[in-house]
Symmetry: D2
């Protein structure tokens, strides 16, 4: 359900506010503040106006905006008493499927954070894998109130930007999406490796890997769509497992048993959720390499 | 405890037979048969004479030689009622530390094999990792008596060669040893990567990896000794995990968090236990490659 | 000056024949033969009809078609007494700028060929570099009349295909064009190398290299247009010379003098004029590599 | 003709001085000054004593030492009126085979340098290729007297170190020698590429390349000896031309004509004459790479 920028520019104020009222959590006043500035030439300009509305607001409203955000994996989230966008965002990060131990850990972290800083812990969960989310939570617990106040508002802006980007299409779109893509090249034959099955995992811990995507390379050695796209790439360590041995067996090569290369793991870290991580595999039965490409 | 070939060549027959009597399991007659052919110019010639003694022996003796080998992880092995060399060999392969379930599986395989072929399942365990050992066992169960008779005798020869190689030094040594080595090169700086910690694991199953070796690269980017050497390299899939991120952090590089490359896994298969697997890592913070080198 | 296939399909026969009359050298009867088969759904179908017209023609006409082709760098070409398309094609191959010695060599080859086979030497010059052109000429001189008759007709078809492809646009275009492209990646920094100057040369002989293209990489590390495109890539050995040292100096790196890598030559051969040769450079100040990419 | 350090330590002073008298050009007093300090535990210590003798000498002697060096490609050198070591050193750098134009250029540079600095231009020619020698000469002409006085003395020390290193063997040798080596790996087959012919050229100018070494790889893919060794590697740009296509043809591969890779040029610069430049080629018929290895 998207709306065009020009529709929004032309809409009655009430419709504009109703459409964008949930972009900032429990804070339709931000959309109200931006309604008067229409028409906006780009989505970026619209978002800048919303951000400026927040920054111009008096202290009480700004604090209330922060306070209005639900805790991560908190009791309210568990009971479904949080904004629909937040429900979806926390679910996408797997926060609705925690074990009792994990839930308890989040509860403790949430309490400690609120105790120390007086606001809920706010993080744009769509930009973090599970390991990064917890590491960030713990790191920020050790921070100072001044820094955390600023960081929390930055995270509110990131959450809002992703919501707005998903809602409004038009010129000058917000850059909230990243990509992971690959390309398999057979340098023994000097051509793309077609029909190569591969899986992308998020490495959650030393013992847990979560499947993110599964694909088979096409005639150009690429996957028809990027492995991750249309959303931020969560900060995490990933492993792309490429079934190179199967490919070589299908070529009818006389391989040793086990082959020197069979399932090739390419492990890499993502630190910029809005970046493009092109991770090619250039390989023969006896060599392989990867690099951050473009 | 090794002896030189020249000492053996000059020794009284009884000493020669006593020294080499256990090279073929429970079959001192093989050493007896080779005693008269002395002096041998090379260890290879000595081994060839022992092999020829077996091949010239009458059928009953050859079958008894096979029958004299203990089952893998069998009851006799468990009770310590097998030859000392076999005890050590099975222990090195971890066959003395099986779970009850694994022990039961071996027992079933041993029984099925003996039932079908009339001889114990014989495999030179020093040349196989755990996964390869089980896969080979199951594959050979599906074989024919004629082939298995020949394969069993080949394995007896491999076991004997390793024992002889460990016992006798001299000209023309047997080639029973392989190697895994590595070399880490930093192509951002154009020099060897020194002080890089790495671990070599045997990938036993999708969920189990057994540590084989741990080392740190020296000033030349190599490990002071090969990661595996002085013995056959068990047929297996290995993973060399190189702590590249730590190396880059020590260089003081401004890396993203997480870095693009942190622990780099190089997964490769070994199919020739007597081969040299040189598996270098040529890397920058944003690229890496490996190949079977030399 | 191009025409659409649908225009041709709808045109009066005389216009159709006039438009396509020069596709086959001095042989408007081929276009005449194809006029009746209209409409053609694709350019490929149109060309197939023209080819079939040739193949169905009686022997005398087919021989005359071959005989109608000018010699390469021949007296007629020199005097401008050949078809306009041929003039342009020979000029593109540099055959109008030969030294007296080279002209004499062609004259001798032309005479020898005509003497042996009774037809002029026909070669689609747009598909060959200078060295390949001469090597092919000499190789074909050693061939047999049966083979040369067939090869000559194949070359006539290649010449015609390129002319038709340049003339007619529409569905199912002929595949007469190839490409050389590149991409420069900086794997020390993990990003495209922008602003890298490079030149593509055709290696004519051990002492002569002819400049083919010159470009600078854009922000994505690619050139705005492929180095060669919109035409067949002449069969030849090429050298892409990449000014990597200048790029590193602009980055402000502390390089030795001379740097380990300065102008990096990538030498490669093109054997399929209609192929895509993607020749990337993946480099740091201390390493580089290339491969046939896609 | 070498002598051991222990022989020198035990020799009468006169013999010591006679043996080492020519290490510093026309300055036997340097050897005399070092004679008394014997015995020296290492060649480095001996050299340090000779260097200290120079540094302690009064100004007149030090200037005379500089003045005693012949001009590069000067009239005296041409007439054979310079020290035997200098004759050999200048010949090794090709300075005895200059064209009249080059000779005139050196004459002009020599005159300008002597005019500006009052001493002959001194350079350890064994450490420079032709292009570097001229470039260094021109660069130093633009320098200041203070710097040039110091640089000239440094070069005298380099010349002396190489002479001493060639003369005396023993513990703690001087490090005056560098190396260029290579290693060709076939990563399509996962093994060293044996029997590969290669040539190393010094790139003198855009149109001139001088052959430095020619070799064929052995079973391990290396050359039996480094391409350059036992001497400083002259500062220069080099090109290693590897006949990869011939190797692939001998393997019986079905290659295109021309092959994608035939003669592969690896162009690299040497800036540290005492360094080890290991320049491997890791290749398939469709890819290759190199890097500064170790």
């Amino acid at each position: 359900m998207t709306v065009t920028l020009s529709t929004l520019n032309a809409a009655p104020s009430a419709v504009f506010v109703e459409t964008l009222g949930a972009v900032f959590e429990h804070a339709p006043w931000v959309a109200e503040g931006a309604a008067a500035g229409r028409p906006y030439p780009t989505v970026e300009a619209l978002f800048a106006a919303m951000r400026a509305t927040v920054q111009r607001a008096e202290e009480g409203r700004r604090l209330a905006l922060l306070a209005g955000h639900p805790e991560l994996a908190g009791r309210a989230a568990r009971a479904g008493r949080i904004a629909p966008d937040s429900i979806a965002e926390q679910a996408a990060a797997g926060l609705d499927r925690l074990s009792e131990a994990e839930f308890a850990r989040f509860a403790a972290l949430n309490a400690a954070y609120r105790e120390k800083f007086g606001i809920p812990f706010i993080l744009c969960v769509k930009r973090h894998g599970r390991a990064s989310l917890l590491a960030t939570f713990e790191r920020r617990l050790g921070s100072s109130p001044e820094i955390e106040r600023r960081v929390a508002e930055d995270e509110v802006m990131r959450i809002a930007a992703i919501r707005l980007d998903a809602l409004v299409t038009g010129e000058g779109p917000l850059q909230t999406k990243g990509r992971i893509s690959t390309h398999v090249l057979d340098t023994a034959l000097g051509r793309p490796a077609a029909g190569v099955a591969l899986e992308l995992y998020e490495i959650v811990s030393a013992t847990e890997a979560a499947l993110v995507a599964r694909a088979v390379t096409n005639a150009d050695g690429r996957t028809d769509a990027p492995l991750v796209h249309g959303r931020p790439v969560p900060v995490a360590t990933y492993e792309l497992r490429v079934r190179l041995g199967d490919y070589h067996r299908r070529l009818g090569l006389d391989l040793p048993d086990p082959p020197f290369l069979d399932i090739v793991p390419l492990r890499f870290g993502v630190s910029e959720p809005e970046g493009h991580y092109h991770v090619p595999l250039v390989a023969t039965p006896w060599s392989f390499q990867t690099y951050r490409g473009s």
